[in-house]
């Protein structure tokens, strides 16, 4: 996936004629086995910061798997978590170029083994009288929550480690995923337990 289209929207556009909820055919999670690192940036909360970061990735040919942006506890700063495809460019070069952006205040490069990662998923799964309870059970097993119930579908919310979301996607896929949206992973460094 290119930097120009980070995995922000997994759904088809809803505009135009046709069913409001079209069956979504998921792409196999091709990126799953690629090497990826999480780079978290603390950025100044100023207009255009996201454009500068995304533009840098596009311009330098660095690929993004996912991108999550939100304010931090300090209203002057936001945190951007980017999952970088380190096969597209040396991570060191990505970090050094990001460091040159004036609005980027801090960069933490997290190896997956050194990070506490989390991600949020919303998925609408097709169900019938037989499968409804199975799907609800699966959601409970993974710690998910049923947030909406319709006549032929349920919507589940699951917040967990990204790999658990991957697994959950796979187990509900046979029932029919109608819509799916993930936030992209966020991460903080693991705490030092030794001292």
């Amino acid at each position: 996936m290119s930097a120009g289209s980070p995995r922000l929207a997994a759904t088809e556009p809803l505009a135009g004629p046709g069913p409001a909820v079209a069956p979504w055919s998921p792409s196999p999670r091709a990126g799953k086995r690629l090497r990826h690192h999480v780079v978290t940036l603390v950025v100044e909360n100023k207009a255009g910061v996201l454009v500068r970061v995304a533009g840098l990735f596009a311009r330098r040919g660095f690929n993004i798997f996912s991108l999550a942006v939100a304010p931090t506890h300090d209203p002057r700063f936001s945190r951007i978590s980017i999952v970088v495809d380190v096969d597209s460019a040396p991570l060191e070069q990505v970090v050094d170029q990001l460091d040159k952006l004036v609005n980027v205040v801090q960069i933490d490069e997290l190896h997956p083994l050194d990070a506490r990662e989390a991600e949020l998923l919303l998925v609408t799964v097709a169900v019938d009288g037989v499968s409804r309870s199975q799907v609800i059970q699966l959601a409970e097993v993974y710690g998910g929550k049923i947030v909406d119930v319709g006549p032929g579908a349920v919507t589940i919310r699951l917040a967990s480690a990204p790999e658990a979301l991957d697994d959950f996607e796979e187990v509900v896929r046979p029932y029919g995923i109608l819509q799916l949206q993930r936030t992209g992973r966020i991460a903080l460094p693991k705490l030092d337990h030794e001292s």
Binding site: V43, E44, A47, G48, Q93, V102, N103, V104
Partner: protein, 584 residues
């Protein structure tokens, strides 16, 4: 004290020490042009916004101070994108102020609205959209700080019309508060120590000097380093003049059109000390075979350059001058502890080999005094014109060039002996750079003679700025090497496209460059034979009240040699035909 946002902006520029602004007014920037009338700042009215940008670059390159340009919104702003990109590539400090539609109109596709901060995000170090007039003094201070510190570069301040018209107050800006901007300062002593050890151990070292040495004003320190170590120097296209060509250890320019000795010295070196150079593809040729035997010490103020192309053995992230001075101290310390460590004989076989190459493979071209050697329609050789120009002009002349064959001949055949005496477009390769950049250079250094060597193709892109030069009494001198072709493109078609010349012919006399020059208020001269060259230059040198343009009708067939064909190894350097049979 109450004042308008426009007045606050001009006052802020004044307080930054700005003496000259190159610009062209328009709707959105109108309010800012009113207080210029009362300002100490000299405004130079260009004829096209691209000219303002390149003039500001020329000014910055010769003075070391930031160049300032001011244009209106929309097309005014997009017209200056090329100079911003050029300055970004060549690390030239530039502050560009653009007008913008009123903040309430932003996003409505208003007349002459362009999202110029968005457009220029990739070609500026940083840019700002001012939304509150109270921010003006601080934003301007930040803009100059970012443009001039660390690795210098262009910045842009976008200035909406309602902000310019609003009433505000002006306060002395506080200390710059940019928590994410931390340019490196001194060099890491451990890295310097490691670099010193490599220098002492090397048998075939080369100092690979780039534009960063000029930006850091490190020429004097570099000269001391050469004096102490006896290591030979190559100066890249951006670094011509950083170390004098007249010095016995200066090997000249490396790269695609570098001379044999400079190119081959790097290929055979066992140590490259890269000082403010970035392993550009025009220097390295095919990267995998570039300097294959060399250990690399890479000194650069921009950490992102370290390892971008070539992984160094020692990385020094620092200002070049500070790094060189630290290296000097480290070497002196070691030389004191280990007598003979810097004995010149340690590298004398290497120097002898370089001297032999220089003797056998100098820059060569068919001399004009032997026209029968090549024949052709014109016996006037462009290299000869440059040699005569160098001989007939003062030592401290500033030479400016455009982009193409003439640029390479100028870089090869001019003798550069002083820093900041060479102004050209290196990284971006912007045709049309020379005329406006020469104007900016002359404004920055009115005490110096400023000559531009330009091509006929380049000249046609920005010649209108000679109207600016005439109107403002800026007596630049332009030598057009008129070969009637887009010569460098022609050369590639000659060498790589079986002489199928596609869309490169321009004609020697359409336009008539002499008449065109005269129409723009310049003196126009024409030279068609070798005997006329020096008299025409001497005549031009005497004219100091207006610009001069000389139309040198040069040999269309001339090629730039040597040449490393694109994508090939530097070992496959193609020499001048007269040298091609010689054993290397």
């Amino acid at each position: 004290m109450e004042l308008t946002g426009a007045q606050s902006l001009i006052k802020s520029l004044e307080s930054q020490g700005v003496e000259v602004v190159f610009g062209l007014p328009g709707g959105a920037i109108l309010p800012v042009y009113d207080p210029i009338i009362d300002s100490s700042i000299r405004h130079i009215l260009v004829r096209h916004e691209q000219g303002a940008g390149h003039a500001a670059e020329g000014y910055a390159q010769v003075t070391g101070r930031p160049g300032v340009a001011m244009v209106t919104s929309g097309p005014g702003a997009t017209n200056i994108v090329t100079p911003l990109a050029n300055a970004f590539m060549d690390s030239t400090p530039l502050v560009v102020v653009t007008g913008q539609v009123a903040t309430k109109s932003i996003g409505t596709d208003a007349f002459q609205e362009v999202d110029i901060t968005g457009v220029t995000a990739g070609v500026t170090k940083h840019n700002w959209l001012v939304t509150d007039a109270r921010d003006i003094p601080n934003v301007v201070a930040e803009a100059f700080h970012v443009a001039t510190t660390g690795r210098p570069g262009p910045v842009l301040v976008d200035f909406p019309k309602d902000v310019a018209n609003s009433v505000t107050t002006w306060e002395e800006p506080g200390p710059v508060d940019l928590p994410g901007y931390r340019p490196p300062a001194a060099a890491d002593p451990a890295a310097i120590a490691a670099a010193a050890e490599l220098v002492l151990a090397a048998e075939r070292p080369v100092l690979y000097v780039g534009g960063g040495v000029l930006k850091a004003d490190a020429s004097a320190a570099l000269a001391r380093l050469v004096e102490l170590t006896g290591i030979p120097v190559v100066t890249t296209l951006m670094a011509r003049g950083a170390f004098p060509d007249g010095h016995r250890l200066c090997l000249g320019m490396p790269g695609m059109h570098g001379n044999y000795t400079a190119v081959t010295a790097m290929q055979r070196a066992d140590l490259l000390v890269a000082l403010g150079s970035r392993f550009d593809d025009r220097v390295t040729g095919k990267v995998s075979s570039f300097a294959p035997l060399a250990k690399v010490v890479h000194v650069d103020i921009d950490r992102a350059e370290i390892g971008k192309v070539r992984r160094p053995d020692v990385a020094v992230v620092a200002d070049c001058r500070l790094a060189i001075e630290a290296l000097l101290a480290a070497l002196r310390e070691r030389a004191a502890a280990r007598p003979g460590a810097l004995d010149p004989t340690r590298i004398s076989p290497w120097i002898a080999m370089l001297d032999e190459w220089r003797e056998r493979f100098p820059l060569a071209y068919d001399r004009t005094d032997a026209p029968e050697a090549r024949g052709g329609p014109s016996p006037l050789k462009p290299q000869y014109v440059i040699e005569q120009l160098r001989a007939a002009t003062p030592e401290d002349t500033v030479l400016v060039s455009g982009v193409g064959q003439h640029q390479m001949w100028a870089a090869q055949h001019w003798r550069f002996d002083q820093p900041r005496s060479w102004v050209n477009s290196g990284g971006l390769g912007t045709m049309g750079f020379a005329v406006p950049a020469a104007i900016g250079a002359k404004v920055g250094r009115p005490d110096r003679m400023v000559w531009a060597v330009d091509g006929d193709g380049c000249f046609q892109m920005t010649a209108q700025e000679l109207v600016t030069a005439s109107a403002e009494r800026i007596p630049v001198k332009i030598a057009i090497l008129n070969n009637a072709y887009l010569g460098m493109v022609r050369q590639w078609q000659h060498m790589f496209y079986e002489e199928r010349y596609s869309e490169v012919y321009l004609s020697p006399d359409l336009p008539d460059y002499v008449l065109w020059a005269e129409a723009m208020g310049c003196v126009g001269l024409r030279v068609t034979s070798p005997e006329e060259v020096t008299p025409a230059i001497e005549k031009a040198n005497e004219i100091d009240d207006r610009p001069v343009v000389i139309d040198f009708r040069t040999d269309s067939m001339e090629q730039v040699y040597p040449m490393v064909p694109s994508g090939l190894s530097n070992d496959e350097i193609v020499l001048h035909p007269s040298q091609q049979g010689l054993a290397r």
